[in-house]
Amino acid sequence: MTLPWAEVVEIAARSLGVAAAATFLAALVGLPLGVWLGARPRKGGLGAQVLLYAGMGLPPVVVGLVFYFLLSRSGPLGGLGLLFTPVAMVLAEAVLAFPMVAGFTLAAVRARADGVRRLVRGLGGSERQVLTTLLWESRRPIVAALAAGFGAAISEVGAATIVGGDIRHHTRVLTTAVVLETRKGELESALALGAVLLGVTLVATAILVVWGERR
């Protein structure tokens, strides 16, 4: 390993921070949307479902490119000066994580919607209580949805490279560092960084799962 250990820790922490923030943003919109769509009666909402499921296949490089044009100094949001910053990476990766979070939440909620609605309504509950009960009853598959979103965010390299620029001490994350080390011919370092990436993903997912099961 040619990289100093302190720098590996720094890069890993940034990877984790960017992916966690992206998952958080995706969940902020994706969870309510998934619950709302999933709780609706069977007819209708099919278009949204198709879009969300198709969105799981969003190509990261294309998402990165769109954000590049949006955030570039010559683009519509250029005044914010966000291109080549971690914030730009969070935004692009949130878009990549969003269909995962919303789509899997939708599927989980839909599977339970009829039964829960019958039960809650039968006990005299409101439609609002149907939604909160659905959210609670779907918490375990929702953890899977969050894990999928986090996984999509932390593992991708296309968008991170295009909107982040792989700037040392600023926007370098584990995936872009792997690409750099490979390009330099430092294959052992690249492989070691890949192992760190797998480890970070494993630990983060474990925390998420344990947190979900405990409630």
Partner: protein, 273 residues
Amino acid sequence: MKRILLLGLLMGTALAAAPLRLATTTSVNDSGLLDALLPGFTQETGIPVQVIAVGTGQALAIAGRGDADAVLVHAPDLEARFLREGKGVAHACIAYNNFVIAGPASDPARVAGAASALEAMRRIYAAGAPFVSRGDNSGTYHRERALWKAAGLEPDGQPWYLESGSGMGATLALAAEKRAYTLTDLGTYLFMKDKVELAGLYDRPDPLMLNQYGYMVVNPERFAHVNAEAAYALRAYLLRPDVQQRIGAYLKDRFGKSLFNPLYGRCKVEVEP
């Protein structure tokens, strides 16, 4: 809660003091040259430098949209166009080395015995030996295409002509795996030669093989937010005699010759707008 804190932390980094953003080519970054030079600049001036290492074509595209403050690239004709289009100012020649034709040690096309770079290209073409092109609009790719053109040859569509679409290091690795020839800058080749099985077959002084690195400030009159003060400061720093000497001495002990030869601002190939 933790996530919100993390997000805040990320926002904080983005809003910190204005650094200098340098878009540059992979060869000066991946060879470690910038890592050797830039900390000294930051120490003296307090200006942190953010390096975006991509191909020359992409570096100029990034800077041409106002997304960088300065560029350090190696394609004199593209640099001249950048100046002509009013996107860059204050061009300065920083260093040079030469391009090398690398290939399998068995040298089936007998490139090592060629009298000139054009002759070497003709021998590869005639032998139909595998050749890996960058194919990515980088400075090295531009030079390779210029060599084919000057030799009056068109390699596109030939079964032995491969385009890697990746950086110089990865292209050298690909060429080694395919036992193919490729055109490389001397710096990356020397840096990589212990890691890949490729011989430097044609590396004689040849005006067609000159590889010159130029620095430009992104035109602040065109892009108001450009950190021109910092970009000019780095220009002055890179041209300073002691820094130029350090460029020439970089890894000279290890390789027995300079990876980058200082130019003290005097271009070997004129870059005129």
